[in-house]
Structure formats: structure tokens, C-alpha cells
Symmetry: C2
Subunit: 140 residues, 2 copies
Amino acid sequence: MAVATRLKIGDVAKQTGVAVGALRYYESLGLLSSERGDNGYRYYPPEAVHQVQFIKKAQALGFSLEDVGDVLTVHQRGDLPCGFVRSLLQDKIQQLEDQIQQMTAFKADLEQYRDRWAESQPRPQSGDICPLIETVPLTV
Amino acid sequence: MAVATRLKIGDVAKQTGVAVGALRYYESLGLLSSERGDNGYRYYPPEAVHQVQFIKKAQALGFSLEDVGDVLTVHQRGDLPCGFVRSLLQDKIQQLEDQIQQMTAFKADLEQYRDRWAESQPRPQSGDICPLIETVPLTV
DNA sequence: CTGGACCCTGTAGTGAGCTAGAGGGTTTAG
DNA sequence: CTAAACCCTCTAGCTCACTACAGGGTCCAG
């Protein structure tokens, strides 16, 4: 039976819903630490559950594990990393906006092709694979 | 000197702007075929340039190389794959629309956090890493 | 004392579309 | 003839966050 102050990796996995392998992966990235017993087992304090939840929440905000590592580094310097988190968040928002814009423009392109191709079918020329696609310009 | 009817891989690369390694990769996926000379070299007919341009155009429409392979398979059955291409295109447009919608919703979430966090700073509780992120709900 | 549940390390694989390099053979211009 | 430029195969690496073994050791209830 697990004593409350000494969790095994499976306990942490159960309490967080994160797979054992993923927890070991977090440790390999320096996002989670553990003490080792004489048997080689990882042992965690109860706060580890909180730490893993923190990682999951940060991921839910679109942060990469590398971002999380950066946040934790600031935290381990003794600072509250909230300012840093806010700027990361602003970056993510900006990236999303850029991506959305690009994808929207691209979708408009595709719709143009779709609509143009719905009306008239170009007549196939010898060697054509699909006469529709052949009309796409190469932007080289 | 390259005879017009027998291109080496480097010739095709130069005429299409596609790297030699990429051409070999296309061949490994069955998108491009070549004859082998006694020296082991790949030799291509001039149409290969057109075929590679076709691949590039399809990619420009957001088609994956696997999509291109499917299109070519239809073509090799002797059919004009335009109907198939149209339905693939419609799929891509739909996928883009879904992604844009998801990203837009997610961006709105992030902006909510950003704006909420700009106003008031939650007071840190013992054990908190970043009191802002701690307020994010875990959707488990 | 045994069997099943747990733990360990280390490696490989996933997806996409390539690029880079090692270690060789071939061709070609001068 | 020679050196550069080309060609070959095979392997590894890139990104990201894991998962899935293989091959072992450990722990605990009955």
C-alpha cells in the first residue's frame, strides 16, 4: 500500500491520468523529478501530482513541453513566472492568428479552383494526368 | 551531354527545381519511375519533368504525396482522375474549414485568458508554480 | 513461495517530406 | 589522363510527444 507521502510512478499515473511512459518522458526532459529507492524505483512526493497537472494545463494552453520547461526554469530561480507566461501566451495567440490567416487565404485559393473546375472542364492535352491540376501555375 | 530523350536524375532536378534526393524519394513512393542503365543510373523520358511538375502542383493544392499516389493510380487505370481530384479538393477545403474553426475557437479561449490575466493577478497559493496557469481547469 | 502486478532501462516506431552524409562507382570536359 | 562532377545505396536525422515493446528485476497477497 502506498504511504501518502511516497508515491510510485503508477500512483502518479493513476491520479493524473497521464501514462507511466509519459511521466518518465517528462523526467527525461527535466520537467519532473523523483527520488530513487534502493530498488531503483522512482518515488514522488504528493506535490508531483500537482506538477503533472500543471504541465497538462500548460499544454491545454498550447504550450509545448519545451515552453513548460522554460516556465519551470524561471520558477526554479525563485520567481513567479507569470509575466513570462503572459508573453508566451501572447506569442501563441499571434502564431494562431498568423496560421488562421494563412489557412483562410489558402482555403480561398482552393475554393477558387473548385468553383472554376465545377463550371468548365479543360480539354485534356496529350500527356496530361489530370487536366484540372495541369492548369495550376507553378510558382517557382 | 544529355540527349533530349534520356534525362539523368540531375537533369530532371535542374529542370524542375526539385532536389535529387526528393526525386529518389518520390520513386520510393511509386510516384515516379525510371529505367536503369547498365551503370545503375536512373534515366528518365522528358515527360518525367511534367510528371514532377504535376506532383508539385498537387502539393501546392495541399495534397499529400499519398493523395498524389492515389490520383496517379486512378490515372494509370486509364481514367482521367478529375472527378477524384475534385472530391479530394472538396475534402481539403472541408478539413481546412474545420481546422480554421478549431483554431479560431482556441484563439478565443487564449484571448479570454490573456484578458482575464491582464486585469487581476490571482494571489499565489503555496505550491503554485504560476498562479495564472493554476486557474486553468483540467478537462479530464 | 509463487504468480501476477508492478517497476526498471533502452531501443524503435509513429507522421511527412524530405536533407545530409558515408563510402563507394561512373562520366566527362579539358 | 585526370579531376571534378555526377551517380549509386544505405543509414541517420529532423520535429513532437509520446507509445510499444524486449528483456529483465521487485514486491506483495494468498
